[in-house]
Amino acid sequence: MAKSIEQLMELIDVIPDEPSKVGEFILPELMAVASAHEVRNDDIVFAGTGLPMVGIMTANYTTAPKAMLIYESGVCDGKTMHVPMSVCDHRAAYQCSTIGGLVDTFGFFLQSGYVTLGFLGGASVDKYGGVNVTSIGDYYKPTHRFTGSGGNSDIGTMAKRVVYIILQEKRRFLERNDYTTTPGWWCWDFKTNEWKPKREVWKNTPFAESGPAAVVTNMGVFRFDEKGEIYLESFFPGVTVEQVKENCGFDLNVKKVKGQTPTPTYRELFVVREFVDPELIFLPQKMDYSKEIQAIIDKG
């Protein structure tokens, strides 16, 4: 018989917080949990629509319950019960502290320096974490025209740390983007027409040291070295380092690989399936639990 939400809540602490095995989770669950691990409990998080929202909600429901969530439409610290489909979904605003608009979020919160973590998507990323969400090909005659910045460029340059969730493909991991919507650790200085470290272009501003911290893809987790260059930190189960390299448009640094990305724990999977996206909006399906876990659920 279906369990009530109260019964499910009581079960959370009973489900073992141990790593699940390959075959017991699907890729979007792994991506949601891997990105959720980037959130600290004291973070002020500014998240975009889509998988970033699932990631941040997963973090908020597991390891970072005190992390404060800001959504660009004007929401401060929403206590979301149902996963929003958009940053302006009223679900994001449930029991929030204050509600305003874009001047609040981009001005009062972001430009004034409160935001410690940005959580964003992107169409392509360059070697230094610069992101394109605008167009492919010539800007004025694009082969593909995307949505354009939205909050990506603001959040991606002014949040202290930024995590991107991007699909891993050769055409999406590039030496240089066709159009840089959100600069990474290296970018153009249009005053002097030079390609420079972000630190120099943004010198003396409050955001010279803010920028990309990690990229989570469908193949692994990436970080940035002291030169601002991206490197592979861990790869997903079932993926090899060579496969990651093959799906990258430049010579990827794989010298710092620590190993396989930790798999989601049974408890994390339980929370994602029963509380984060039980409506199956982002997750394509709900997997069956393993016999052992199902027995615990049935017993509780």
């Binding site: 009530s4 629509t49 889509g50 908020n60 660009e72 439409s73 929401v75 206590k79 979301t80 019960m81 149902h82 489909m85 940053v87 302006c88 979904d89 009223h90 605003a93 449930y94 509600i99 305003g100 608009g101 874009l102 001047v103 981009f106 001005g107 972001l110 430009q111 605008t134 800007y139 005659k141 025209r145 949505t147 354009g148 910045s149 939205g150 909050g151 460029s153 603001d154 991606g156 340059t157 159009y179 840089t180 919507t181 959100t182 600069p183 970018c187 153009w188 249009f190 005053k191 972000k198 943004w202 003396n204 501003t205 955001f207 010279a208 029963e274 039980p278 409506e279 909006i281 982002f282």
Partner: protein, 351 residues
């Protein structure tokens, strides 16, 4: 050219047809309320704009929406000055009508970013000619090569709605806090807002997110407020701290229930995911799009007829809960929403 105001307006109550006829002209610059295609889009207003056949509009906005989707469906937008061109979020990220028109050279797109556009409207609202903003230095948004209106020769000062420059980058002269970008104020002809309630004198109230709706109301020369209901002005003045738009900026009031469909009006109704998806599907080829427009835009006798055509079942599913402000009966994904009483984070760790 400086703008002199110095006059309060007396809001007039009109029908949707009359309001569109009075305020819209070919080629005007227009801003719509709400955020993305999912929240308080004045869809009925843009629907009527399309029915009355206006063209060559200059949309200036923070978002793509159901309004811009529909206007692009009939190629009524000539310039889209925006910071985000998606519209339907998870139901349809890219506006395919826009993409088609843009690739065919039928429209100009000028890119900004959310914060930048918010600050442009803030400047317009508070009467400042420009506003400084940091982000995003080093982005192609502020690459001098990428100034679409300049490239089209439209920054010659002849159009009082188009500033002579897209931006200027300068060093902070006061505190030495690095380089900043100066952004020109946004000064549209017309702002159209969809709200929950409006007083019969024009004071307007919404619940939930505000995006930059207060700013667009003060930045625009003319303001139309479309509301779910018109209430006696005195009722809104019992709790003035929950009102957002001052009556003296409002020119025209329209009562139009379900007028933001298929986007949401928090505490009234939710966004309609299947309908948004059907719009996205229709925009995939021109034959389907024409069929869709004939059925949903040119077919109904008036907006009320459009709402009746939606059917009772759909409206029941969309009706918002009185406590959450959204619908928990709506099937958004593959499974129904769980009966939550509080967020899990609150249940486990408090506020």
């Amino acid at each position: 050219m400086p703008r002199i105001r110095g006059k309060t307006k007396t809001a007039e109550i009109l029908t949707l047809e009359e309001a569109v006829k009075k305020h819209v002209k070919n080629g005007i610059q227009i801003a719509f309320s709400g955020f993305t295609g999912m929240n308080r889009n004045p869809f009925a207003f843009s629907w009527e704009v399309v029915r009355q056949g206006f063209k060559d509009l200059h949309s200036i906005d923070r978002h793509g929406s159901c309004c811009t989707w529909l206007l692009n469906a009939v190629n009524a937008i000539k310039i889209q000055e925006t910071d985000w061109l998606g519209w339907g979020e998870m139901a349809g990220k890219i506006d395919l009508n826009m993409e088609r028109n843009y690739k065919a050279g039928k429209m100009i797109i000028e890119d900004y970013a959310h914060g930048a556009m918010a600050f442009r409207f803030l400047a317009g609202a508070v009467g400042a000619p420009f506003m400084p903003y940091y982000a995003p230095l080093g982005s192609d948004l502020y690459n001098p090569k990428y100034d679409a209106l300049g490239r089209a020769g439209l920054r010659d000062g002849k159009n009082p709605r188009i500033p002579k420059k897209k931006f200027i980058q300068m060093e902070d002269p006061f505190w030495g806090d690095g380089e900043v970008v100066l952004l020109p104020a946004a000064r549209p002809n017309l702002a159209v807002l969809h709200v929950l309630q409006v007083g019969d004198k024009g004071t307007a109230r919404w619940r939930g997110i505000g995006t930059i709706d207060k700013e667009i109301a003060f930045a625009a020369d003319e303001v139309v407020v479309v509301a779910e209901e018109i209430v006696p002005e005195g009722e809104l003045r019992k709790y003035p701290e929950t009102n957002q738009v001052a009556y003296f900026t409002v020119d025209t009031i329209v009562e139009c229930p379900w007028g933001a469909f298929p986007s949401a009006v928090p505490f009234c109704y939710d966004y309609d995911v299947p309908f948004l998806r059907s719009m996205d599907a229709a925009s995939r080829n021109e034959t389907d799009l024409k069929k869709w427009l004939d059925e949903w835009v040119f077919g109904p006798k008036n907006w009320e007829d459009f709402v009746v055509k939606l059917g009772t079942k759909r409206l029941l599913d969309l009706k918002a809960d009185s406590v959450t402000g959204y619908s928990t009966r709506l099937l958004r994904g593959k499974k129904p929403a769980p009966r939550m009483k509080m967020a899990l984070s609150v249940a486990r760790s408090g506020y």
